[in-house]
Amino acid sequence: MTVTFSTPTLETERLILRAPALTDFDVLADFYASPRAEFVGGPQSRELSWRNLALEAGHWVLRGFGRWTLVEKTTQNPVGIVGLWHPEGFPENELGWDLFDGATGKGYATEAAIAARHYAYDTLGWTTLTSLIAIGNDGSRRVAERLGATYDSDFTHERFGPMQLWRHPGPEALT
């Protein structure tokens, strides 16, 4: 008996966006162990990273949406996690992005976030979308700017610290 998990898959020019899977663990754990994870609760142990990976999958079941693992078409490697996120304690539905080591500087976060945002507006029928960006996470802020989002308000996350809530253009503004 094989357990099945009915998540949607998206495709962009260079990426496949699919559900998180066990095969993503090592690269995810490396990311969460690195200084680059400082804005998303890291650096943290492999044990906690495993729980985070399972949490990514469980979020889909509890919320009906979640984040996708980005698979680079040319290499088939997982290069990041991007998608729709709303754990308990978040102020609104979020569009979030984390790129694994070596995957930055290629526009992957922006490319995947555009696809995820279209899915939120066109398939889920959402009317607005936010992104939480930790103070000092300039790379993430630049992605938000490229996506046309603008600063909305301040938010303090109990583990991630002081953050800014950025708001994306709504579905009308993107058509």
């Binding site: 357990v3 399972a54 999958a57 979640g66």
Partner: protein, 172 residues
Amino acid sequence: MITLTNTPTLTTERLTLRAPQPQDAPTFIEFYKTDRAQYVGGPKDDKRGWEFFCTEIGHWVMRGYGMFVVTYQGDDTPLGIVGHWNPKTWPEQEVGWVIFEPAIEGKGIAFEAAKAVIDYTWTTLKWATIVSYIAYPNTRSIALAERLGAVRDEDAETPGTAYVYRHPRPTA
């Protein structure tokens, strides 16, 4: 709706064991807010409890097996969770048990559920070994492990500060 499907259901004399579903979240989160959760990673506030419930469901996605929600037959109220737990970082595959409410204790529910899971593990999943990791000094849990025939293995590696109880493989 995103669902987890094709998960097994076990039945015992009194109980049904099924995969966790979103409607179980409030009971799970309430349990984790109490001191009763002190030996199983708690207490946790609402937010961490919600995340950990996601992890429980996600474990099924990652491994194809996980913790079952235990209910009485014909009544879907969650009584506890009993089943398989195996983060990729753990030394061995575990069978674990949690009963949510004190009022449910003393009825042999955890024993009946754990016995069914262990039988299923040997006969269907065909694991080579089964252990239970029990945080010191969770004496009720130790008593249950011993009642199930498990024996403390002082040489086994642990994922944290816990006793390792090893379940005997049934003789053919």
